[in-house]
Amino acid sequence: MTNVSAMAPAVEKIDAPATQSARLGLWLTLPAQLLVLFIALFPILMQVYISLTDWSPLDGIPWWKAHELWIGLLNYADLMADNRFWGALWRTMFVMAICVPVQFLLGLGLAVLFVDDFRGKRVLYSTLLVPMMVVPAVAGYMFFMLFQSGGPVNDLLSFFTSDPVRIAWLSDPDLALIAVMIADIWQWTPLMFLILLAGMISVPQDQQMAAILLGASWWRRFFTIVLPRMKSIIIIALAIRVIEIFKIFDTLFIMTGGGPGVATETISVYIYKVTQQELIWSYVAAIALAILIVLSVVSVFAIKRMQRGQKP
C-alpha cells in the first residue's frame, strides 16, 4: 500500500484509492472470514444452546429442536451443587499444582545443564525428548505395568528394604494419584525442557559476558539476566502445561480409569463418563462451558503478562 511518490501535499489524494482497495479486499475475503468465524464459533454456540436444555440423544428429537426441552440455567445450578464435579475440578487443580512446578523446575534444571556444550550432549538430548514422543496411550500402558503390585517399581523399591515391597499403587486411592502424576511428569518434563532450553539459548551471550566482567556470580547472573530475559517464554511454557493438565486424560484413563472409585477422576475423565456412560449431553455442555471460561481467563491472564514482558 505504500506509494513511493507519496510526498506530503499529495497524501489525501493517494489515500483515497488505498482505502477503496482495502474495502474491496474486505469484501473479497468476507466469505472466507465468515466461514472461519462460523467454524470457530458454531460448536461453542451449539454448546451454549444445548446447555440451556435437558436434551440427550436418547430423546429422539434432533438437537436443533432441543429448545422443546428448555430448562434455562438448571444445568448450571446442578453443576454448582455437583460434588463429583467439584471433586474432579479440585483433583485437576491439585495435579496441576504439583505437576507444573515439578516439570518447570526439572525442565529448567535440565536446560541449565544443556545450555553449555559437553561430550555426548546430542545423544543425551535426543534421549531426553523420547518420553514426549511416546503416544500418551502407550505411556499409560507402560506406567500401568510399571506400577503393578508385582511390577518393576516395587521390585526397585525392594532393593532398599528387607522385605519385598508389594504396594498396590493403582488400587490405593492416595497412591494412584501419585502414580498418575509421576507418569505425567515423566512424559511432559521434556516439553518444558525443550521450550526453556530454547529460551535460555536465546539469552544474549554478550549480556552474560558483560555480567561476568562486572563480577557477577553464576547465581546472580542466572537470577538477574537469564531468568528475567526468559520471562515471556516461561509464561508460555507454564500456560501450555496448565492448559494441557486441564485436559489430562489418555494416560490417566488407561492407568486407573479414574479409579479407584473417583480417586483419580479429573475433569476430562468426569466429562467422558457423564457423556459416554450417562449420556446427559446437555449437562456435559454446561461443564464444558464452565471449563472453557476458566481456561480462557487463565489464557488471557498469561497473554497479558506475556505482552507486558515484551514491551520495552
Binding site: 559476558m209 555480567a211 563480577g215 520495552p312
Partner: protein, 364 residues
C-alpha cells in the same frame, strides 16, 4: 593503574591461526589502539586480555603478574562491547549499579556512586528509565559508565563507536579521550577506523592476519610505516606504492618506475639503497605530498574528485595506480591528460618488494 604485557601471545582455532607471537607492552595509563582490518586478530587479542578466550600460547601479564589462569570475573577489567550489551530489561540505575551490587557494596555507597557517575555522564535525568528505549548515544555512555563505575585499572573498548552516526562519533572521540583523563586507566581500544585510532590513541598497534606489524605513536606510524601494509592502511587515501628499480647515475641512486619516469632517492635513504643488492624496489609517497613538477613521474589522469577541502586526483599508467591529494585552491590537472609530478625528499619511502619491509634511512 596497570601495565599490560603480552608475551609471545598466540591463539589458534583448530588449523586457523588467529594471532601469532604478539609482543606488546601497554604502559600504565596509556591509551593503546589495536588497529587493523576485520579478521586481523585485534578482537581476539582483546578477548584474551579480558579473559573471554584462553591463549593457545604465551603470557598476559598485568603489572608483571601472569593472569592467564585468572578467571575473567577476577581480572578487574572494564569492557565495553561493540553493541554495548546493556541489560535492556533493567533501568539505567540498575545497569549502573550492577557491578557494585555484584561486589556487595553497601546500598548507600551504591546510591552515592551511581548518582555521581550519572552526573558525570549526563545520565542523571534518566536514571529510572528502562534501558530498552534509549538511543544509541545514551546506551554508549551507559555502557562506559557501567564498567567505569567499578574503577577498573584496565579498560577495554571493542569498536564502541562503530554503531553511532558520524556526527556523534566525532563528539564521542573527544569525550572518550577526556573520560580517560578523568579515570586515568590503561585503555585498550579496538578499531578498524584509523581516524579513531589516530585521534585518540597515545600509541597504535597495527595488525593484519594475526600479526602485529607496527607499534608507535600516530605520527610515527603515519610518517614511518614499517611496511607496505601499514603504509597503505594508514592515511585516507593510503600511501602510493609503485614498483620500480634502482638506477645509479654518478654515484647517486634514483628509482625508475618503468614507463612513468624517475624519482630521486633522498640523501637519507642513499646508503640503504646502495646496500641493497637486488635492483627491484617499491617506492612510496603520500598522496598529500605530491606536487606538479617539470620532471618526475608522468601518469594519465583518470578522474578528479573534488571533495571540498581538497581534491583527489586518480592517476593511472600501464597497470600502476596512484592518487594525489591537492589543496582545493590548487588547479588540478584535467581528466584525460598526462600529468607530471614528483614528491619531495622527505616524502619518499622505499620498501623491499619481497618482504614489504621499509628500508631504514639514516640522517647524515
Amino acid at each position: 593503574m596497570s601495565e599490560i604485557a603480552l608475551e609471545n601471545l598466540g591463539k589458534t582455532f583448530g588449523d586457523f591461526t588467529a594471532l601469532a607471537e604478539m609482543n606488546l607492552t601497554i604502559a600504565n595509563g596509556e591509551f593503546m589502539a589495536l588497529l587493523g582490518p576485520s579478521g586481523c586478530g585485534k578482537s581476539t587479542t582483546m578477548n584474551m586480555i579480558a579473559g573471554m578466550l584462553r591463549p593457545s600460547s604465551g603470557a598476559i601479564r598485568f603489572n608483571g603478574r601472569d593472569v592467564v589462569d585468572v578467571p575473567m570475573a577476577k581480572r578487574g577489567v572494564g569492557f565495553v562491547f561493540q553493541n554495548y550489551a546493556i541489560f535492556t530489561h533493567m533501568s539505567v540505575r540498575e545497569n549502573l549499579a550492577y557491578g557494585l551490587r555484584a561486589q556487595g557494596t553497601p546500598a548507600a555507597e551504591i546510591n552515592k556512586r551511581v548518582q555521581a557517575f550519572a552526573e558525570l555522564l549526563q545520565l542523571d535525568t534518566m536514571l529510572d528509565r528502562r534501558a530498552a528505549g534509549l538511543s544509541v548515544n545514551i546506551l554508549q555512555r551507559l555502557a562506559i559508565g557501567r564498567s567505569a563505575i567499578l574503577e577498573p585499572s584496565i579498560f577495554l573498548l571493542d569498536e564502541p563507536l562503530s554503531n553511532v552516526d558520524a556526527a556523534f562519533r566525532a563528539v564521542m572521540r573527544s569525550e572518550l579521550k577526556s573520560l580517560q583523563g578523568e579515570f586515568d586507566q590503561t585503555m585498550v581500544y579496538v578499531t578498524h577506523d584509523q581516524l579513531e585510532a589516530m585521534t585518540m590513541a597515545d600509541r597504535i598497534a597495527v595488525m593484519d592476519h594475526g600479526k602485529l606489524l607496527q607499534v608507535g605513536t600516530p605520527l610515527d606510524i603515519y610518517n614511518a610505516p614499517a611496511d607496505t601494509f601499514v603504509a597503505k592502511f594508514i592515511g585516507a587515501p593510503g600511501m602510493n606504492i609503485l614498483n620500480g628499480r634502482f638506477v645509479e647515475n654518478a654515484g647517486v641512486v634514483a628509482v625508475e618506475v618503468p614507463g612513468l619516469g624517475t624519482l630521486d632517492v633522498p640523501p637519507t635513504l642513499q646508503a640503504a639503497a646502495k646496500d641493497k643488492k637486488a635492483p627491484n624496489i617499491q617506492i612510496g609517497f603520500r598522496p598529500e605530498q605530491v606536487n606538479a613538477s617539470q620532471s618526475g613521474l608522468t601518469m594519465h589522469v583518470g578522474f578528479v574528485e573534488r571533495i571540498g577541502a581538497r581534491t583527489i586526483v586518480h592517476l593511472e599508467h600501464s597497470g600502476s595506480t596512484a592518487k594525489a591529494v591537492l589543496p582545493s585552491d590548487a588547479t588540478p590537472p584535467l581528466a584525460g591528460s598526462d600529468w607530471t609530478f614528483s614528491a619531495s625528499d622527505e616524502a619518499i619511502r622505499l620498501f623491499d618488494p619481497t618482504s614489504g619491509q621499509a628500508l631504514k634511512g639514516r640522517a647524515h
